[in-house]
């Protein structure tokens, strides 16, 4: 996007002051950050900050950060019907700045993937407006999980970018402004921040080194994109292995809904009794109703729908976006698929040597 990269001094905040820092941020603009749940599910989810909330250091939220720019449902337009008259109403109100705190490198990269869809012509004004008002504080991943494979897609979890990149150590939180907007907001927090010295810089650099070495040891570190890309349509499309890979797929939409880069949606009218809400909502290529038209569905079997999802991420999207894959290796689908089928298994399967009964 339009951020201007800046080079300024990294700041730090004692962890004992974290609560005060979050409070100050929430005063500046509505603040959303990962907080552990209090019901049956205690995992972290992005929550609007209120005093008393505790920032969760969980590696990743259950749902991705894309919700903030591309929510699951949103009203596009309302029609008010009275008798035989119809009035058209734009439901949007003026968008305000908001802060997203604790975004991981993978999720941050996903915004790039979404931008290429929603911000290219014709620009999606609903998305663009929210994107322009979101201030993002990213967080380096000190304890990557076994399901992480962001490095496969060239993402560095030690350099998470954003308006401000953050590093959490035992004692401190380091904040490194990456954009002017980031700088401006850090400037407003100066009471709570101190400057960093060479020891601090070394501490952060050590953390980055540590992250890098940890990434190398992860079980999925060797996963390769070699067999995939915009030019692999012919080799992959008719491969018989799609059948067995998709065999157990339940056709639920879990993978697409937890995915930070899935961006398919559908638009529908809801009759309220007084008129119509025209809203858009996430759709899933896993559903039999996906892109159904009057003539029927273009993809008739679950295998075809399953193939669509992975071909899109690994072939079609890169073909249209300078080779950029639309997967960021966050690992959410690995953890949540009811039958544990996922992009890693797909990639590994196609990376195996093909026996002679394999693809042509």
């Amino acid at each position: 996007m339009r951020e201007v990269m800046v080079i300024s001094m990294m700041k730090k905040c004692a962890k004992s002051n974290l609560t005060a820092l979050l409070h100050a941020l929430s005063v500046y603009a509505p603040l959303y950050l990962p907080v552990n749940g209090n019901g049956k599910d205690t995992r972290a989810k992005y929550t609007r900050y209120e005093d008393g909330m505790v920032y969760s250091t969980d590696l990743n939220t259950v749902r991705s950060a894309k919700d903030f720019f591309f929510p699951q449902t949103e009203n596009l337009v309302n029609f008010k019907v009275e008798g035989k008259n119809i009035e058209i109403i734009d439901p949007r109100t003026e968008e305000e700045d908001f802060i997203l705190f604790g975004v991981r490198a993978c999720d941050f990269k996903s915004f790039d993937v979404l931008d290429r869809v929603f911000l290219s012509e014709p620009v999606d004004s609903y998305y663009a407006s929210r994107r322009a008002h979101g201030i993002i504080f990213t967080m380096a991943c000190t304890r990557p999980a076994e399901t992480c494979f962001c490095t496969t897609f060239g993402i560095n979890p030690a350099e998470p970018a954003g308006d401000v990149s953050c590093y959490m150590t035992e004692a401190d939180l380091y904040l490194d402004a990456k954009t002017e907007r980031g700088e401006a907001i850090l400037a407003k927090l100066e009471d709570l921040l101190t400057d960093t010295d060479s020891t601090d810089i070394k501490t952060v650099e050590d953390q980055k080194t540590c992250i890098a070495s940890r990434m190398e040891k992860l079980p999925l570190a060797a996963l390769s994109t070699e067999k995939f890309g915009g030019d692999k349509l012919d080799t992959l499309f008719d491969d018989p292995r799609w059948e067995s890979l998709s065999e157990a797929c339940l056709a639920c939409g879990t993978c697409t809904y937890v995915c930070p880069t899935c961006q398919c949606y559908d638009i529908k009218d809801f009759n309220t009794g007084h008129g119509v809400c025209r809203f858009r909502y996430w759709d899933s290529c896993m559903y039999s109703e996906f892109t159904k038209m009057s003539a029927g569905q273009p993809r008739l079997t679950q295998m075809q729908r399953f193939r669509q999802r992975f071909m899109h991420k690994l072939v079609y999207y890169p073909a249209n976006n300078d080779g950029l894959f639309s997967c960021v290796g966050c690992g959410r689908c690995l953890a949540s698929c009811p039958i544990s089928m996922n992009i890693v298994k797909v990639m590994k399967t196609f990376s195996e040597e093909v026996s002679d009964n394999g693809s042509k």
Partner: protein
């Protein structure tokens, strides 16, 4: 898009006094799809109806909403009006703004507001109405009566009298049923055989009646007016058409030790037998379980003595297939088994008998030729104890016994007691009772005679224990009036066993898709208003298969069932109600939930081949509703989780449109 006309009726001042009818018509006019709206003094009058017909023609209306009195009053009227105007009668919806609005709301503003909402709901519904046409099916003019007891015989005779052919299927070798086993009948004390056997002969001689004895219904298909039935006629090893019923074989057969079921196994007959003297058909039958010839291939005495040459050891079961327009169940009853009641010592002593056994013991054609003798030693009993309510009126969850009152026991026990005292005045007769129930013409008088004229000792109380001891039966019971425990040394104890439906009724009900209650009595279509019909169209109920009854009641019900059958058979075709359930075969998954709740058995399943959207073919089990049988209750629509089942005239989307309009 429909072109809807709205007609608001004033009903004189009935509606107009509390509902602003002009405002209702005006509000309706602004609803989408409404192209015409008006109000008038009496919509149901000829002038009002003409107004509707004119409006339909002038504005090319496709749907009508009449805001008027209850649809229960004039829905039929306005449907006819629609038909006269040239649109489908089911394109009419009524908004009830009289009974459910103007008459119950005194406030004009509130009444008008509600009337407008009701009108809008009707408009919303009519938008989704579709033209419906009732289906037609032909009627096969032949009836089947299952069971040849007094109920079945009476029903068959009445139907035959009206000129329709009727078949009686009887599982025993002869018709006659339980009544043939009885001695005398209450409250007149005339002999059962004297009044029953002429009817049996009538049935045999009526050219419209075919008696298929020693046979059972095996399969029932089809629906009202068009039943297809398979009947298995068991091999009797005697050619029915040839046998003259002379009975010589039954005297010469060397196998003499076959328990005589007609006499409740109290004596024996031969392996070839005629159940009783007046059996119809009077044809011998061989019991294959005892016949030496059939078991070992050696004997053949009966064939040798039969001058008519009727014996046929090679005879096979025969399957008869027939079409019927109506079926009558007349499967009757049996006394329950009293062996479970240890305290009454039925299994321990031969001198504890059931009332039906008592009937045979006093019957001139019975095992003792009508002399009342103790089964154990053939002595004349001097003290007889009758115990009422054995197995009747038990708790619902009781392990033994029935919850209901068997209805006939009070009267036959009084009869038995009276007969004993009449024939053997030296006998002491005690009747233990809980209540004496005698609602019936001349019933209580009869019971009082037993007490007052014949000196039967009625004891309010119950027998707790019977112990056989030294050839006597020690009866211990309570006398609640005297507040003491009685100990009677009896010679004979007669148990008034509860009655239960015949065991063949349950599988038959399944075949007929007729419902049953928890006691296996057939359920009637309506307990008060349709007592002789089963909820399944075309299935009728006669006699005790529907509930305990005495003979006069059974005969009344039998004739009533016949009248219903005649009514049905006199029609050439049946016109259905078009508001029936319909299954979307693409959505149905054949789970059977709908068939489980259907009270009419209107739903069947078939395997059908489909070409699937992914171009494969697939055989799927799907539900089919028979519109001739469906009555349109809608139970299936809710039982169906996938929403494949919907109800014409009350479709899901129609009801939801009404909900939406009301809640707006």
């Amino acid at each position: 898009m429909q072109r809807i006309g709205v007609f608001v009726c004033w009903c004189g001042s009935n509606i107009a006094a509390t509902v602003d009818v002009h405002a209702v018509a005006e509000a309706a006019r602004h609803e989408p799809g409404v192209v015409f709206s008006t109000d008038y003094q009496y919509m149901c009058s000829q002038a009002g109806q003409n107004m509707i017909i004119e409006a339909v023609k002038e504005h090319h209306l496709t749907g009508l909403v009449i805001c008027s009195c209850s649809p229960r009053m004039h829905e039929a009227t306005f449907r006819k009006t629609a038909a006269n105007a040239g649109i489908n009668p089911y394109m009419v919806e009524i908004a009830n703004i009289r009974e459910q609005c103007s008459w119950v709301h005194k406030d004009m503003a509130a009444g008008t507001e509600k009337a407008i909402i009701l009108a809008k709901a009707a408009i919303a519904k009519v938008h989704l109405n579709t033209a419906l046409t009732p289906g037609e099916s032909k009627v096969t003019k032949r009836a089947l009566v299952i069971g040849g007891g007094i109920a079945g015989i009476q029903t068959a005779l009445d139907i035959a009298e009206a000129g329709f052919p009727v078949d009686i299927v009887e599982k025993e070798p002869t018709i006659g049923g339980k009544m043939a086993q009885l001695d005398k009948t209450f409250p007149t004390l005339d002999c059962a055989a004297c009044i029953l056997t002429p009817k049996m002969v009538d049935a045999a001689q009526n050219e419209n009646i075919r008696i298929i004895s020693y046979a059972q219904v095996e399969e029932v298909g089809g629906f009202v007016g068009n039943f297809h039935v398979k009947i298995r006629k068991k091999a009797r090893f005697v050619n029915e058409d040839v046998c003259t019923g002379c009975g010589l074989c039954t005297e010469k057969c060397p196998q003499k030790k076959v328990p005589n079921a007609f006499n409740l196994n109290m004596d024996n007959h031969r392996a070839i037998y005629i159940p009783f003297a007046q059996a119809v058909p009077k044809v011998a039958v061989i019991d294959p379980n005892y016949c030496t010839m059939l078991k070992t291939g050696k004997c053949g005495v009966c064939a040798k003595v039969c001058t008519a040459g009727a014996i046929d050891y090679k005879q096979q079961d025969q399957i008869i297939e027939e079409e019927y327009g109506a079926i009558v169940a007349a499967t009757g009853y049996n006394p329950i088994s009293v062996e479970k009641f240890d305290e009454f010592a039925y299994s321990q002593s031969k001198d504890v008998i059931t009332s039906l056994e008592f009937e045979r013991l006093t019957n001139a054609a019975g095992p003792t030729a009508g002399k009342l003798l103790r089964p154990s030693d053939g002595e004349h009993p001097h003290t007889i104890v009758f115990v009422q309510c054995v197995g009747s009126r038990c708790a619902a969850n009781a392990a033994k016994g029935k919850e209901y009152c068997s209805k006939i026991c009070c009267m036959y026990t009084a009869k038995h007691a009276m007969l004993v005292r009449d024939k053997y005045p030296d006998t002491d007769v005690y009747v233990f009772y809980i209540d004496v129930r005698t609602p019936g013409k001349n019933f209580d008088e009869f019971y009082r005679r037993a007490v007052e004229e014949y000196g039967v000792h009625y004891i309010k109380g119950m027998v707790g224990k019977i112990t056989p001891e030294n050839g006597k039966l020690k009866v211990q019971g309570s006398d609640l009036i005297a507040d003491k425990q009685l100990h009677i040394d009896a010679d004979l104890v007669v148990l008034a066993a509860a009655i239960e439906p015949d065991k063949s009724a349950r599988p038959l009900a399944t075949m007929l898709t007729a419902s049953m209650d928890t006691n296996d009595f057939f359920t009637e279509a309506h307990p008060k208003l349709r007592p002789v019909e089963s909820p399944t169209a075309g299935i009728f109920l006669s006699g005790t298969c529907q509930g305990p009854k005495d003979i006069p009641e059974t005969v009344s019900q039998a004739s009533a069932a016949a009248a219903k059958v005649i009514g049905l058979l006199s029609k050439n075709t049946l016109k259905g109600n078009p508001c029936v359930a319909q299954s979307d075969e693409w959505m149905c998954n054949g789970c059977s939930s709908c068939a489980n709740v259907c009270p009419y058995g209107a739903i069947t399943y078939e395997n059908k081949e489909f070409r699937m959207p992914d171009r494969s073919t697939k055989v799927r089990r799907i539900a089919k509703v028979n519109p001739a049988v469906c009555q349109g209750c809608g139970a299936c629509t809710v039982a169906c989780p996938s929403g494949a089942m919907d109800l014409n005239g009350f479709k899901n989307n129609q009801i939801m449109a009404e909900v939406d309009a009301i809640c707006k």
